[in-house]
């Protein structure tokens, strides 16, 4: 594998909009990725192996829950810093970013937002340090884009809840110590529960043979009459808005993350095109290659401005779900397009593991689907523009 020489493009001097601390955080994560992820990721991905040791390392550097208050072991950082961290991690690999996103936005976030003081104290510091790994169970075998129709349910049995049902496509699940699970109560209200590994009737089999996010582990959550103690219910979550707010937080990180993957593909293709000689010239000298590179950089620059502005809105508490939908959809789509074009620039080399492009490309096929598919996000924007929901 060639050494990781990645540099991020900054065509519009967007760095001038960042604080020194934000730039230091980005540099720190970039150094971390070059040291801990780039050297192993191709091999892990080829072998569909989840490098479990990364969990502790993410904890040490502070990649889990950077916006969670420091009192609970989080980073207490601003949203642009968080976004830059996700950009750098996904620049390394979308699967590694998925691990960090799920832990921070889908497990720590709901516990911090909807949990009791005891739950926060019990779980957050261990999740922040990487001592514990968590997962988030919303999607079901028969309910993906429409989670409101879920069938997983809880029944109040006096001193405990009885949980039944199944979740599918759950990132981290086979290795997770806890799962934040969304289930309906007797009244049909969606509630959140913390289910711990080892509870009787709870299993988490792995989903094998993925062609995407191969270095991330995915599985099911199966609940067969699981007795969940009452103190494991998230007291402040009620209704679909509970999981949806978590997804907002994660999607925000994805919008930045996908940009990182796009940057890596662009940077790789640019370098390669200057070195690869055909017809006696670097392939970068042909107009068609230049068109590809110029369009990639244009899209990256637009996407950078989009997430930077979204980050400012997040910091000012003005970002809404529809703002986040637009950024998630756009940035993942351009990343996928850039990965495909970049792969072509590398010719046959582009399909090998010598370069990261094909891995990013395959990874992004999951990213464009999870956390709200490309089309569903479009319909969210459409509904916002017209006031008419087209997906029901």
């Amino acid at each position: 594998m060639p050494t990781d020489q990645f540099e991020s493009p900054d065509y519009y001097l967007i760095d001038d909009l960042l604080t020194e601390e934000q730039k230091l955080i980005r540099k720190t994560m970039r150094d971390f990725v070059k040291k801990e992820i780039s050297p192993i990721i191709e091999d892990c991905s080829q072998k569909a192996h989840f490098p479990e040791e990364i969990v502790k390392k993410f904890g040490e550097i502070g990649a889990f829950g950077p916006t969670i208050p420091t009192a609970y072991g989080g980073g207490g950082l601003d949203y642009i810093s968080y976004g830059l961290m996700m950009q750098e991690i996904e620049r390394g690999d979308s699967g590694m970013r998925s691990t960090a996103s799920v832990q921070g936005s889908l497990v720590m976030f709901p516990i911090n937002e909807y949990g009791s003081e005891e739950q926060k104290k019990k779980y957050l510091p261990k999740l922040a340090s990487g001592e514990m790994l968590g997962c988030f169970g919303l999607t079901e075998p028969d309910h993906g884009s429409n989670p409101a129709a879920m069938v997983t349910n809880i029944k109040d049995k006096g001193d405990h809840y009885l949980l039944n049902g199944a979740k599918m496509w759950i990132t981290n699940s086979p290795k997770a110590d806890i799962a934040v699970v969304w289930a309906k109560n007797e009244e049909g209200r969606i509630k959140g529960l913390i289910v711990e590994k080892g509870m009787k009737g709870f299993t988490a089999p792995e989903t094998k043979h993925k062609w995407s996010l191969r270095a991330s582990i995915t599985g099911e959550l199966v609940f067969d009459n699981v007795k969940v103690p009452k103190e494991n219910l998230l007291p402040k979550a009620d209704g679909l808005s509970g999981p949806l707010k978590c997804l907002d937080s994660a999607r925000y990180g994805i919008a930045w993350g996908a940009l990182g993957a796009a940057m890596d593909c662009y940077d790789t293709a640019r370098r390669y095109s200057l070195e690869r000689i055909q017809f006696g010239k670097p392939i970068a000298s042909f107009q068609l290659t230049q068109k590809k590179l110029a369009e990639m950089l244009t899209e990256i620059t637009k996407a950078q401005l989009l997430v930077w502005r979204l980050g400012v809105l997040k910091n000012e508490h003005k970002a809404t779900s529809v703002h986040i939908s637009m950024a998630k959809r756009n940035n993942v789509a351009i990343a996928l397009q850039i990965a495909r074009e970049a792969r072509q620039i590398l010719g046959a080399m582009g399909i090998t593991g010598e370069y990261p492009i094909m891995r990013h490309m395959a990874n992004l096929e999951s990213v464009v689907t999870y956390e709200g598919t490309h089309d569903i996000h479009l319909l969210i924007t459409g509904a916002d523009i017209t006031g008419i929901q087209a997906f029901k």
């Binding site: 601390e21 230091l24 955080i25 720190t28 971390f32 990649a63």
Partner: protein, 244 residues
């Protein structure tokens, strides 16, 4: 143990170097600055040696634009920092400023890189040692402390030299003395509030003045000679490159 680590603020190793003002000023536009890589080895080792009761102070002679570099050193783990508010004109000037601070602060160890990577003079550690009347040694590749004694290894022509010196001392460090430390988010957050003291420089007699900078001549084109015709290589070396 009370340790002082002197850090330089230098262009990233991948920077494109150019000059302005009739080749008398380095053009910093668009250049990323970093902690001198050798200085960063010194800093990493200092943090390992600090112990529970010790302290690591970082010192930089530089103008206000070096503060992000100093904050990074604090994020990596230094306890506090001093910036001598002056442009680091030359090695003698920088050494004089470091010595002035070290005289009053009484450090057990003064560490820095074997050289900065901008001017690569490798003079400051020796000068500081002389100015303070304490030993200085460079390049140090291994440094251990037991009691009041430092054991160091350094590379010499054709081998290694192991020396033992009583503290206090000055050392110019290089790899593999320690591994660079990547700061973590907690470190970056705590660096916000760690003390960074700005002091004015002491007066130093001007010993050098800069006339101009020159870039090395651009690399010539690469010429390929087929392995089956070695005589052509000899000829090119003799008549074109004129090195034979």
């Amino acid at each position: 143990m009370k340790i002082l680590v002197c850090i330089s603020h230098v262009p990233d190793t991948a920077s494109k170097i150019s000059f302005t003002d009739n080749n008398t000023k380095f053009n910093a536009a668009g250049v990323q600055f970093i902690i001198g890589p050798y200085d960063e080895y010194a800093l990493s080792r200092a943090i390992e040696l600090r112990g529970d009761a010790g302290s690591v102070t970082v010192l930089n002679v530089g103008e206000a634009d070096t503060e992000p570099t100093i904050r990074k050193a604090l994020a990596i783990g230094a306890d506090d920092a001093i910036r001598v508010n002056a442009f680091p004109k030359d090695s003698y000037f920088v050494a004089s400023q470091i010595a002035a601070i070290a005289k009053s602060e009484k450090y057990d160890l003064i560490l820095m890189g074997r050289e900065s990577i901008d001017y690569n003079s490798g003079l400051v550690h020796g000068m500081v040692g002389e100015m303070l009347g304490i030993p200085s040694i460079s390049p140090v590749m291994k440094l251990d402390i037991t009691g009041n004694k430092a054991t160091m290894a350094r590379e010499i022509e054709g081998g290694k030299e192991i020396v033992e010196i009583a503290l206090p001392l000055v050392a110019g460090c290089q790899e593999p003395i320690a591994e660079w430390k990547i700061p973590n988010m907690k470190g970056i957050m705590s660096a916000r509030t760690k003390p960074l003291k700005v002091v004015e420089p002491t007066a130093v007699e001007e010993t050098t003045s800069l006339n101009s900078y020159e870039l090395p001549a651009p690399k010539g084109a690469c010429k390929m000679i087929d392995a089956s015709t070695p005589e052509k290589l000899f000829e090119a070396l003799k008549n074109e490159a004129k090195v034979l």
